[in-house]
Amino acid sequence: MMPPTTTLPSGHTRIETAALQGISKRFPGVLANDHVNFDVNAGEIHALLGENGAGKSTLMKILYGLYQPDEGEITLNGEVARFHSPADSLTAGIGMIHQHFMLVPTLTVTENVALGIRSGGPLLNLKQVRKRLIALSDAYGLKIDPDVYVWQLSVGEQQRVEIVKALYQGGALIILDEPTAVLTPQEVDELFVTLRQMRDEGHSLIFISHKLYEVQDLSDRITVMRDGRVVDTIANHGVEQRTLARMMVGRDVQFQPDRPPVTVGEVKLAVRSLCAQNDRDLLALKEVSLEIRAGEVLGIAGVSGNGQRELAECIAGLRPATGGEVILNGHSILSLSVQERLQSGLSFVPEERNRHGTIGSFSVAENAILQNNDAPQFLNGPFYNFEAIRRYTVDLIQKFNIKTPGHETLLKNLSGGNVQKLILARELSRQPVLLIAAQPTRGVDIGASEYIRGVLMQQRSSGVAILLISEDLDEIMALSDRIAVMYEGEVVGVVDRDDADVETLGLMMAGAQRA
């Protein structure tokens, strides 16, 4: 056998081993990393698995120089390395592809890549950058137009730019933070082909995910983290998903919620030819038409940014419609205020729970009555009846199993899952006709996700019409009765769940197929 070369095709020297040893990192009130050991070798894909808040991202940000560890050290090929900023780690050959892409939308692809060049002198040589960029994208089968602006690219294309950028900078070790979260199934397949090629050439890859089957499919070794600690590092040979899930959560997990048969009732929500603009005044909804019946879950699948958010906001009254009609329970609601829509039976679990759903500096009780704050049951003449509010809140806390020290705790001190449970509790206590649930389990731990999905299924059984918007295709498949796919502001198809398969949905999400 030939000894492996020490230089990668991208020009950087291989990093035979990179190791994080005894890393600890504290944030106010949280021990994010507790004496963590982790290593990755050249020619290996090492998956880092764990729930949100398990400490994966913190650990990787330390390796990338974004954070400094309180304890422990990083070694590259056995030598101690200190990274004070990403500039240091980039020089050492470490690249990172962030979950939120690190691209400047108003620059071209070439300019974005050129931004990372530090040895180029004061004048830009974009021609040379462009040439090498094209060569790299050809070598790795990453189709990219170097001259377009990043804001014109789809999410999948942006990720290809991120990968080429990392390769261009000579990344010998590349950290991928949840790279598949925003991709269609086909794009995930393409990504994995590229990643395997990079591994075989001798790159070291760290793959962060919470999707078990992806980790199983791609990685050579798997490290599971929970509560800031490493649970175990194992070789990926015949490991069962069930085992990985137990390591992640610390107990057995039910992936599929019970979904009893329901007889659907009459149409509760009818959306007809709805049009709306996005924040940049561009058309975001193009003649969207939908119907949801009582006891039915309509799932909206699609890569984020294809109009899902605008659709939810339009129905909830947070964004003006520029055309069309929304009929709730037989009445047109487009001309109604938010307050009036809530009173006519609409409940909304917004996508950004901290910005649109709650007020962090308010207590749990204050958040619980945020929408009903003038309801007679909470009032005593012109004053609040604090005893009634307390009883109401404590009741919600118990019914929905919300973990909080008390009803007067500030909301910002609750975990994401518990904030989401509180929002759900509040929205459901008004006994809605229609529930819009936008990304109900995003960033929520597995235990709470399980619970929230269960609650949605109970609501379905009791006859609530549910509009479920999710980027997580597995969630859509698990909960929906019918699935509508949105692409570039249009509903490109509606399929029954029983007729739906991931392949077809993926093609529709990419705009390649209609149904």
Binding site: K61, S85, P86, L90, T91, V104, T106, L115, L123, D281
Partner: protein
């Protein structure tokens, strides 16, 4: 024939003066453009201009050092750089609210220039000023020659700075970094760009150019210093950056428009233009550029789309 000849002369003089009077707007606005493209809104331009205006004219006058105008210009640039450094320190390092700290800098500049003027110059400064330079050949062109090529060196420099700014922004590494840092500092940081350093340099450059803007107003345009002589020009320069959609060429168009509006009111008074026999109240005319500022900003729709996304937002690593 005699009267039309006079009208042409007046138009030529007015046009030439419009270019000259656009000079301080241009310097200040181009400097502010760099700061804003990097993500820092510097509302201290007005104060920096005043300090540049006073210090330059003071050092070249007989109250000061009878220095060469070039020395006056250098002093104004140095003062501008120092005040830019103050702004950068407060807004980048201390991450203070940019609008408020800029207003603070303006108040500081107003107070300090007035104080120095009274203490050092007893309230009166007159200086020789800066000579007009006729560009060879070009200044002999009929009409155009006397409008465009009979100006002082600062005016030539201000207009030359427009294409230079475009070139710097689009063709240099620093320009690319400025654009990136103003749009997505997290991305720039993750690519190894030193966000703080880029913002410091852009804000300091903005200060230098605001200092030059002040000097051009006092040394070149008027040859005197008066308390608060900038009269809001610094704020108009900030508005011009918005008006011009962060593009140097459009900022230049804006500077010319405002300068023309400013000139119009002078000429209407000088020529005693009457509407239906009645004189136009001068106060109404003086308001013109300021009213124009407001009207233009209302209709500058482009603003929302092209505004640097990170404008006024301090950068802290690790926050998404």
């Amino acid at each position: 024939m005699e009267s039309s000849r006079t009208l042409l002369d007046i138009l030529i003089a007015a046009s030439g003066l419009t270019l000259a009077a656009a000079t301080p707007f241009l310097f200040a606005a181009l400097g502010e453009l760099f700061a804003q493209r990097s993500g820092v809104l510097n509302l201290g331009v007005e104060g920096i201009m005043l300090m540049g205006a006073f210090t330059s004219v003071f050092v070249i006058s007989d109250k000061g050092f009878n220095a060469h105008p070039a020395v006056g210009l250098l002093v104004a640039m140095l003062v501008g750089a120092l005040m830019g450094l103050m702004m950068a320190f407060v807004s980048v390092t201390l991450q203070a609210e940019q609008g408020i700290s800029g207003i603070g800098l303006t108040l500081f500049g107003q107070g300090m220039s007035t104080l120095l003027f009274r203490v050092l110059a007893a309230g009166v400064i007159v200086a020789g000023g800066v000579e007009k330079i006729d560009l060879p050949v070009l200044s002999n062109l009929p009409v155009l020659g006397s409008i465009f090529f009979h100006q002082d060196i600062l005016t030539y420099a201000a207009f030359a700075l427009v294409p230079i700014s475009v070139w710097v922004l689009n063709r240099t590494t620093w320009g690319l970094q400025v654009r990136a840092v103003g749009q997505n500092p997290q991305a720039a940081d993750s690519m190894g760009v030193n966000v703080a350093r880029v913002r410091y340099s852009a804000v300091i450059l903005g200060g230098v150019l605001a200092g030059v803007a002040g000097a051009s107003l006092s040394m070149a345009l008027t040859g005197v210093f008066q308390e608060n002589m900038t009269a809001g020009r610094g704020f108009i320069a900030v508005a011009l950056v918005y008006f011009g959609g962060w593009s140097p060429w459009k900022v230049m168009a804006g500077a010319l428009l405002f300068s023309a509006a400013n000139n119009l009111q002078i000429w209407v008074q000088v020529l005693d233009v009457r509407v239906a026999g009645a004189a136009i109240p001068p106060n109404l005319l003086i308001m013109l550029p300021y009213v124009l500022t407001i009207v233009v900003l209302i209709f500058a729709r482009e603003r929302q789309r092209r505004e640097p996304a990170a404008l006024t937002k301090p950068f802290e690593r690790g926050e998404n």
